[in-house]
């Protein structure tokens, strides 16, 4: 039991004490707390914005208009949510094993790079059918991310090197690596981007069917979102229905028990890091082929890091990841236009802080007792 004791000099009229919960809480309680925590994070950010002379209410209404206000902007929100779903899943599967993959950003970049190889080298003849090109890009994107996940996984399994630091360092390395190719070898007439890919390497978008269905005109939602949903389904099956998922969860919850049960922890570390990297790499591939249609600088506004918050907010549940991604997709869409530029990041920080703080309410009851002095 934790007691925040009142100081002797300033006697508060109440003592706040935390008591361990013995009974189960009702089913609505955890989601209610999560939503409450997110609202409080918005509130605090609003107050800070007000303090520095902004207009929180106008920003809030702008936020709504720019993200959910019409089908066209909602589609933008979903487009930003798409990579977040995959990156969020990447983080969720690693975190489930208490493997701190903070390197989804780098794996995203490597996935984008490897997928671009298919077109830029080219790895398959450019006149191949679209299915072949896109298929090759999916495979390459996942391989690229998996390679970038393998490095920290191997170092942890073999030398017990802390994966938090290595994955983070690999982010910076991946960005420099991509920049070299974009600025130097593949630069389009000196610009910091590769030439636009041929249409055969574009993921189909709803807007492509605008001629048949008028309502789709200008809707940029692309096939990548389907990859995300399929990946969530597969991940749910792995975690909840397969024996491999059971191993992952057991290692995460109780590594000693896993060891005595004869589970090969080192092998699972490498495997899960590679799966995690592959998912982040797929997100990079989907962004390159579905949105920008070329490799360029800053293809990610920090998707890899936002994915960490998404995974945590979703309590590592694959399907909840999809919902949370939409909220954060909205945050990214609005954050591009809202000044000051750090606002979205600050809000994300507050949200994550509030979420992990609110967890204490699931484990403890807060009790206010009147002082009888």
């Amino acid at each position: 039991m934790t007691t925040i004791a009142p100081s002797k000099r300033f006697q508060l009229p109440y003592t706040i004490s935390l008591e361990k919960r013995v009974e189960d809480y009702p089913k609505w309680f955890p989601p209610a707390i999560t939503i409450g925590a997110v609202l409080i994070a918005f509130l605090i950010s609003g107050i800070i914005l007000k303090l520095i002379g902004g207009e929180p209410l106008r920003v809030a209404s702008f936020f709504y208009e720019a993200t959910f206000g019409s089908w066209a902007v909602f589609s933008d929100t979903l487009v930003k949510a798409t990579p977040l779903i995959m990156v969020g899943l990447a983080c969720a599967i690693a975190f489930r094993m208490k493997l701190w993959n903070i390197g989804a950003e780098g794996q995203f970049y490597l996935g984008a790079f490897a997928a671009s190889l298919v077109v830029l080298v080219p790895l398959v003849p450019p006149e191949s059918p679209k299915v072949v090109i896109i298929g090759a890009m999916i495979i390459m994107g996942m391989i690229g991310g998996a390679v970038w996940g393998f490095i920290p996984g191997f170092l942890k399994a073999r030398f017990q090197v802390n994966e938090i630091i290595t994955t983070l360092m690999l982010n910076y390395i991946a960005i420099s690596w991509n920049n070299f190719w974009i600025f130097d070898r593949w630069s389009d007439a000196g610009f910091q981007m590769t030439p636009t890919f041929d249409k055969s390497a574009w993921l189909p978008r709803l807007a492509d069917y605008a001629r048949e269905y008028k309502m789709f005109s200008g809707i940029t939602l692309h096939l990548g979102v389907v990859f995300g949903i399929i990946a969530a389904g597969i991940m749910w099956w792995i975690l909840e229905r397969s024996s491999w998922g059971y191993e992952i969860k057991l290692i995460g919850d109780n590594p000693n028990a896993a060891k005595y049960a004869g589970i090969n922890i080192a092998r699972n570390i490498v495997l899960v890091m590679m799966v995690s990297g592959a998912l982040a790499g797929l997100a990079g591939m989907s962004e390159v082929t579905g949105v920008v249609h070329r490799l360029q600088e800053r293809i990610s506004p920090g998707y890899g890091f936002t994915g960490i918050i998404v995974a945590w907010l979703a309590k590592l549940n694959p399907f909840t990841v999809i919902l949370v991604s939409i909220l954060f997709g909205a945050l990214i869409v609005a954050g591009r236009e809202i000044q000051p530029s750090g606002l979205a990041l600050m809000l994300q920080g507050f949200i994550l802080f509030m979420i992990i703080s609110s967890d204490v309410l699931l484990r403890y009851k807060v009790r206010l007792t009147r002082q009888t002095a």
Binding site: I48, I52, A344, L345, M346, Q348, F353, I356, R363
Partner: protein, 321 residues
């Protein structure tokens, strides 16, 4: 490629890592992993820069930077010590929060020129050949503070009673509690110390080593390198200081490689194509990974390791693991 210049610059940039890494040594020695160093450094860099700009006093700027880092770290303390939240996730959110807050509060600071922390020669010592110009000439006050700070913290941690308490709290909090130490209070205190030093490290950048406010590029990952350095240093402040200086010097060497047209009689590829410098930019991060691998192998060999209770919340009245 002048060795004096490289070592001189290495000591200056190494001082940033020295403060940040020693701060993290304190927090981790008390059993609290704080991955928010990057965020706290940015807050410190912004707060110090902004204060020096508005008051004209860089010393006041340092003080505010120290407090900014410290106050931010208390959020991590509350969440991990009292609420027993996961320290990794809390530290990450501290990085997001610190970075975001610093960007929001620091808008409009880019391009400003506040008064900086003074640089000076140490009289007498600066005249020693080679050693003088490297160690004791034209350095910022903070570099000289760093020289004294590392051995003092080493002495504090290993040779004094409060230092022993610090280690006890991080190694076996139940035993420390039985001894009558207030585990919660000590953990809060050292998390705060760690935050203060991270804030100071941030201000070391913005008010001394590479003056200016460049949003998140001000720190550009050095907070994370500092966290890595702590593992490399095996939680020893002297090794952390040495690692910081070594890192600083290597970084400078790498930068200087771009200058000359020929290296050892061969044409310098970096001189012909500046895009190769992207590979040089990777170098500090590759070095950190290499240092970690080396450090982890040494730890296994020498049976050293992290403080035993690092990352484990202490719950009074419950049995530890």
């Amino acid at each position: 490629m002048n060795p004096i210049i490289i070592l001189h610059a290495g000591l200056a940039t190494g001082t940033i890592l020295l403060f940040a890494a020693i701060g993290e040594v304190f927090a981790e020695r008390a059993g609290i992993l704080n991955l928010g160093v990057e965020g706290m450094m940015l807050m410190g860099a912004m707060a110090g820069f902004s204060t020096s700009l508005s008051t004209g006093s860089p010393m006041l700027g340092l003080l505010v930077a120290i407090l900014a880092g410290g106050i931010l770290s208390l959020a991590h303390g509350l969440v991990t010590i009292h609420f027993q939240a996961d320290q990794v996730v809390s530290g990450l959110s501290l990085t997001f929060l610190g970075t975001g807050l610093a960007l929001v509060l620091g808008q409009g600071l880019t391009g400003q020129n506040p008064p900086l922390v003074p640089s000076f020669d140490i009289p007498g010592l600066a005249l020693i050949p080679f050693i003088g110009p490297v160690f004791f000439a034209n350095h910022s006050l903070l570099v000289y503070v760093g020289y004294l700070f590392a051995p003092l913290t080493w002495y504090y941690i290993y040779k004094t009673r409060p230092g022993m308490h610090l280690r006890a709290v991080g190694e076996k909090p139940e035993a420390a509690d039985t001894m009558g130490l207030n585990v919660y209070a000590l953990r809060y205190f050292y998390v705060f110390v760690g935050g203060c030093l991270a804030g100071l490290a941030g201000a070391t950048i913005s008010l001394s080593v590479s003056p200016g406010w460049f949003s998140e590029l001000t720190t550009s990952g050095q907070g994370w390198i500092a966290v890595g350095l702590v593992i490399f240093a095996q939680w020893d402040p002297l090794r952390a200081a040495f690692g910081g200086y070594l890192f600083g010097a290597l970084r400078r060497t790498i930068l200087d490689l771009q200058g000359p047209a020929t290296l050892f009689g061969l044409t310098n590829p970096l001189y012909i194509n500046p895009n190769f410098s992207f590979f040089l930019q990777m170098a500090p991060f590759i070095l950190t990974i290499a240092a970690l691998v080396w450090g982890s192998r040494a730890a296994i060999r020498e049976r050293l390791g992290a403080p035993a209770a690092l990352g484990v919340p202490y719950i009074r009245g419950e049995r530890g693991l």
